[in-house]
Amino acid sequence: MKNQSPSANMREVIGVLEDLQDVGIIEKYAIGGAFAAILHYEPISTIDLDIFFLLKEKSESPILSLSAIYDYAKKRGFSFDHEFINIHGWLVQFVEASHSGLWTEAIENADTMKIDNFNAPVIGKEHLVAMWLLAGRAKDYQKIAMFREAEFLDETKLFDVLERHDLMSKWHREKWRFADEE
């Protein structure tokens, strides 16, 4: 990572993502995962930056869909492995979203967040909660608990998302995992 402020460094990452759109590889993208949780709420430990994206040219195979991005990374001189691409010191994980109605909707309805002097698309709070519920790992439930504790979720919006993506019964079934502390 260059010796500059972390947000200036993040500006460069967003610049690369915008370039991926400009050269016609990705159509839309938004920041998701723990990084999005940090931007909405408070800093928690995470090593990577999850980017949910939609390809410009649709592909049936999730592996093929990433190959254009890996080719781009190679040309730009970014190192990578099967999991992450190192973009200006940040481990970026690309997640193709077109096979999931929920993920696609989350990208299309992402919030625009101002970070210093630039804007970044960030998946909205209610969609993040629905995505964590769908993933259903212990760390996902912890983030749902964190967001519920914050009392900033729009429950009408959240339940609408959960209802439309058949997650309402899972919400009721798993609710005890992210119940309020007190």
Binding site: M1, E42, S79
Partner: protein, 81 residues
């Protein structure tokens, strides 16, 4: 008596934790990113200390993180004239 002191200590701890979290939540997105970087650095240092003292090895994902963060580091500012 002991129980009331214990309750008081716990209440104070909760109050301090609440204040600290309120501060973190009030930060701008850019400040939160800076805090995340601090957290990552501190956590990695803890893992280094653990490994150095014969504890569990640094997890692979954190090794990757360290490599990514420093492999292209611009150290030109650090060169002494």
């Amino acid at each position: 008596m002991k129980n009331s002191l214990q309750t008081e200590v716990i209440a104070d701890l909760k109050r301090r934790k609440k204040t600290s979290r309120e501060y973190l939540r009030s930060l701008s997105p850019a400040e939160k990113i800076a805090k995340l970087v601090d957290l990552q650095e501190q956590y990695y240092q803890t893992l280094v200390i653990r490994e150095t003292n014969g504890g569990r090895k640094i997890p692979e994902k954190w090794r990757k993180w360290h490599e990514a963060r420093y492999e292209n580091a611009d150290v030109s500012d650090l060169i002494l004239e």
